[in-house]
Amino acid sequence: MRRAITPPADEWVLLEEEGNAHQLYWRKGSLHAVRDVTSRSARAELYCDQGGQRGAATAHLAGDEHDGQRLSDARLAAELALNPAYRLPQGAADYPAIALGDEALPSRDALESWGSALHRAAAEAGVHLSTLEVFAERQHHQLEASNGRSHAWDAVHYAADVILSCGEGDAAVELRLSPTSRRLQDLLRADRLATAAQAVRDRGGAALPPSGAMPVILPAAELQYLILVLRAHTSAELRYTGALQKQIGDALIDCQGDPLTLRMNPLIPHAVASRPTDGSTVPAAARTLIEGGVLRAFHATPQFAAYLDLPPTGPLGTLEVSAGTSNYDDLTAQGPVLEVVSFSSNMPDPLSGDFAAEIKMGYLHQGGRKIPIAQGSVSGNVFTALGHCRMSRETELVDGYLGPRWIRFQALQVAGG
C-alpha cells in the first residue's frame, strides 16, 4: 500500500489495516438490509526529536497524491507538541502467534443461515427477536517501524445486536444482548441465549426490588464495566499526567473478602482483545497488574514507560480477574440477595469508581425463592465493593473480560420499592 513512503521523522511506526465485512439486518424475523464493506487505513506515528525533547503526531494516509502533504503536516505538528524524550523499543522482537478467529470470513449466505438459526432457537426458547444485526469482518494488519520491527497478522471479528422480546402491546418486554467474538460458533452460545430468554419471559411479572443495602450479585457481562475502572487505575499515562496518586506496592483495594488479582492478557486464543502487538511495536505478553488488591504494575506505552522508569507492556488484551471458590448456590444463599441479570446501562466513573445503574432485569433470592425483579437501581463504589466480595469458581469470557462468572458484593445500595 504505502510502504514506499518513509515518514519524515527520527522514528516512526506505520500500521496498515485492510478489512472486508458483511453486515446483515433483520426486523421481526425478516432480513431487510445487507451491506458489504471494504475498509482501509494507514496510520503513521511520527516521532521527531528537537532540543532534547520528542514530539509525536499521527497522520492518516489515504494512498493518494496528498499523503506527502499529510506527512509534512504531521511533522510540523510533532515539532509543536514536544514532550520529554523517549524512544521506541530497540532490537529484534519475537511476536507470538495467536489464533484470532475463523480461517475465513463466512459468506453472506452462511451468516444469513446463522441468523435464521438464531431466530428458530429464540422461538424454541419462548421468545422472539424484534431485531437482529450481525457484523462480520476480516482484517489484515501490517506493522512496520523504524526500529526494524515488522509483523503481519489477520483477525476476524463478529458482533451482534440482539433484541429478545416477549409479549405484545404494552405488555411487551425486551432484553438487549451485544455479544462479540472472533469465531461465529462463539458469538451467542446456547447457554447465554437460554439465560437471557428466561430473563425476558420472567420480566413480564417482575416487581420492584426492595430498598436498602444488601448483597448484590453481578454477572460477567456487567462486571466487565466495573473492571474498566481498574484499567484506568493501572494506567501509566494517568499516573504520569497526575490523575492517579497510587504507587506500585500500594493497596488499590482493601481485600476483606476474596482477594482480587488482575492480569492483562493479550494472548488468549480467539479472544476479541487479543493481538500480537500494537502501535508500540512491543510484543504481546501477559502481566499481573494487581495482586491481592495491591498495585503491582502499570500498563504503559514506551513513552510513559520511559517517564516512569517502567517496562513498556504492549497491547492490553483481555482483563483477567482471578476466580474464587464459590459456586452459584453458595453465592445465592443467605438471602435476601439481589442477582442482576442486566443493567440498562452501566458506566462507572473511571476516577472515583462510583457507579449507579438501573436494573433492567434481575432476581431476588429469598427464602429459597427466585423472584423476578426489574427497575430500581444499584449504586456503590467499585473499590469498596471489590474489597468486600466473593467470587465464583466458574469463569466466563465476555468481550475484554475473563473472570468470575458471578461476583457477590457484600453490600451495595439498592433503590426500589
Binding site: A21, Q23, Y25, R27, K28, H32, A33, V34, R35, D36, V37, T38, S39, R40, R43, A56, A57, T58, A59, H60, A62, R70, D73, A74, A77, A78, L80, A81, L82, N83, S130, T131, S165, D170, A172, E174, R176, S178, E237, Y240, T241, G242, A243, Q245, Q303, S344, S345, M347, D349, L351, S352, F355, A356, A357, E358, Q375, S377, S379, Q413, A415
Partner: protein
C-alpha cells in the same frame, strides 16, 4: 473494484470524506493527531431488500455529473482551515495553563480540541447535493483530589462552524468549573425516593433525548420496539412540554443541511403542548410509514443509515430559574449528567446525574449529592413538569443507538421543574 450496476438498480450514490485534527494536552503531555479521513463511497440498491456496497475511497465515476447541483457550506466565520496549527496548539496550551494551578487540589488538567470537516455528496436520479460542514469541540477537565476522593468537572464548547465556536473561554467560567469540582469532592449519596427537581438545561436535554428522542426513532416502530408507535396523538406530558428535534439549528453540533439519505433537513415537533405528535425517520422508514424523512444518519460510510436525532430540546417557557427553585420545598437541583440510556418499549427513562444540589424551602443549601440515577415512567415524569424557564442552552454529545452507531448531537432546552425518582 465496485461491482457493476444494472439499469434495474436504484441509482443512489453517497460519498463522504473528512479531514480532522485533535490536540490533547493531558497533564504535562501533549499529543497532536490527524483524524482518520473516513473516505468512502456507498452504492445503494433499493427494493424489498435494501442492499448497500460500501467501498473505501472516493469513487466519482458513479456520480451523474462533475459538480453537484445544490451545495451548502457551513464552515463558520473563522474556518478552521484558515487558523494555523501553531495557533491551535498554543490555544490549547494556554487554556490548560490557565486551568492548572487554579486550586491546590487540582491534580490533573486536560484540554482536548477536535475539529472535523466533512465533505458529503449524495446523488440520485432526482437530486445531486453536496455539503461541507465543520464541527469543532473543546473539552476542558479539572481532576481534583483531597487526600481521599478523586473527582472531576468539565467545561464543554462545541458546535458546527469555525474556530470561533471554541474561542473566548473566560476566567470566570474556569473559576466556576474548578469551584464546582472541589465542591463535588464533598458530595454525598442521596437517599432514594421521589423528589421535586429543577433540571439544568444539560439534564433537561438528556431527558428529552432519552425519553422522546430515542423513543420516536421510527425504525423502532417497524420492529415493534417503540410504544410511541401506538400512541401518536395522545397526551404524554403537561401542556408546558414541547420537545423538538431540529437539524437546522444555526451552529448546532448535531446540525446538517441534508441527512445521509440526501433528504433536506427540517425541524420536527415530537411533543407539542404535551401531545405526542410525530417521530423521526430516514428514507427507508419514511417510505414504509408515510413520514417525512430527514433524520437519516450514519456514523460513517462503513455503517448503515438509521433514524437519528440531531439537536433535541425542550422549547423554553417564560418563568425565571429562580422562580422554579422558589417553588420547591424539598428537592434537588440536578446539575450535570454522566450518562443516559433509552427504553422506547416501556417508556422507562434512565439518566445518571453526576451531581446536584439540595433545595430546601425554595433555596439552594450548598449540600451536594453525587452519582444519582434519575428514573421514572416517561409520561408521568413529563406530566409532572409544572415549570419551564425562559433560558435556553444546548449541550453537545455523541449519541449511540444502543452501544454503536455514534453520531454528533446536541440536547438541551431550558431549566425545568418536575418530579422524578432519584437513587
Amino acid at each position: 473494484m465496485p461491482s457493476e450496476r444494472t439499469d434495474a438498480d436504484a441509482r443512489w450514490v453517497s460519498m463522504s470524506r473528512s479531514s480532522g485534527l485533535q490536540i490533547h494536552a493531558s497533564g504535562p503531555n501533549i499529543d497532536v493527531t490527524q483524524l482518520p479521513p473516513g473516505e468512502g463511497t456507498v452504492l445503494r440498491r433499493g427494493g424489498n431488500l435494501q442492499e448497500e456496497e460500501a467501498l473505501f475511497g472516493w469513487h466519482p465515476q458513479w456520480l451523474p455529473g462533475a459538480a453537484a447541483t445544490e451545495r451548502r457550506d457551513s464552515l463558520g466565520e473563522q474556518p478552521v482551515s484558515q487558523v494555523p496549527l501553531r495557533e491551535k496548539v498554543e490555544f490549547v496550551r494556554a487554556l490548560q495553563a490557565k486551568l492548572t494551578g487554579r486550586d491546590p487540589r487540582i491534580v490533573q488538567t486536560d484540554v482536548l480540541y477536535r475539529e472535523v470537516t466533512e465533505q458529503r455528496r449524495i446523488a440520485t436520479d432526482r437530486f445531486d447535493r453536496e455539503s461541507r460542514l465543520s464541527r469543532v469541540l473543546l473539552f476542558a477537565v479539572a481532576v481534583v483530589h483531597d487526600g481521599g476522593r478523586t473527582d472531576m468537572n468539565r467545561l464543554v464548547r462545541a458546535g458546527s462552524g469555525g474556530f470561533e465556536v471554541v474561542s473566548g473561554v473566560s476566567d470566570a467560567e474556569l473559576d466556576a468549573m474548578v469551584e464546582e469540582a472541589v465542591r463535588v469532592l464533598g458530595a454525598e449519596s442521596i437517599e432514594p425516593g421521589s423528589y421535586r427537581v429543577v433540571t439544568h438545561p444539560e439534564v433537561s436535554g438528556v431527558i428529552a433525548h432519552e425519553a422522546f428522542g430515542h423513543g420516536v426513532e421510527m425504525d423502532l416502530f417497524l420492529s415493534g420496539r417503540a410504544r410511541a408507535g401506538r400512541y401518536m396523538g395522545t397526551r404524554v406530558g403537561s401542556d408546558l412540554v414541547t420537545i423538538v428535534d431540529d437539524p437546522t439549528v444555526e451552529g448546532g453540533y448535531g446540525s446538517y443541511p441534508f441527512d445521509d439519505d440526501g433528504t433536506p433537513a427540517a425541524p420536527h415537533d415530537i411533543v407539542s403542548g404535551g401531545i405526542l405528535t410525530q417521530g423521526l425517520s430516514d428514507a427507508e422508514v419514511a417510505s414504509a410509514l408515510g413520514a417525512s424523512g430527514g433524520n437519516g444518519r450514519r456514523q460513517d460510510y462503513t455503517r448503515k443509515v438509521y433514524p437519528r436525532m440531531s439537536n433535541t430540546f425542550f422549547r423554553p417557557g417564560g418563568v425565571s430559574v429562580e422562580e422554579l427553585i422558589r417553588g420547591v420545598d424539598r428537592g434537588v437541583y440536578l446539575r450535570q449528567v454522566s450518562s443516559g440510556m433509552e427504553d422506547p418499549l416501556n417508556w422507562g427513562m434512565q439518566v445518571i446525574c453526576h451531581h446536584g444540589e439540595e433545595i430546601r424551602d425554595g433555596a439552594l443549601t450548598g449540600r451536594l449529592y453525587r452519582t444519582m440515577p434519575v428514573t421514572g415512567y416517561v409520561p408521568e415524569v413529563l406530566s409532572s413538569v409544572d415549570g419551564v424557564a425562559g433560558d435556553f442552552e444546548l449541550t453537545p454529545g455523541t449519541c449511540g443507538k444502543g452501544w454503536k452507531e455514534w453520531v454528533p448531537v446536541t440536547s438541551g432546552g431550558p431549566h425545568l421543574r418536575m418530579t422524578v425518582r432519584l437513587g
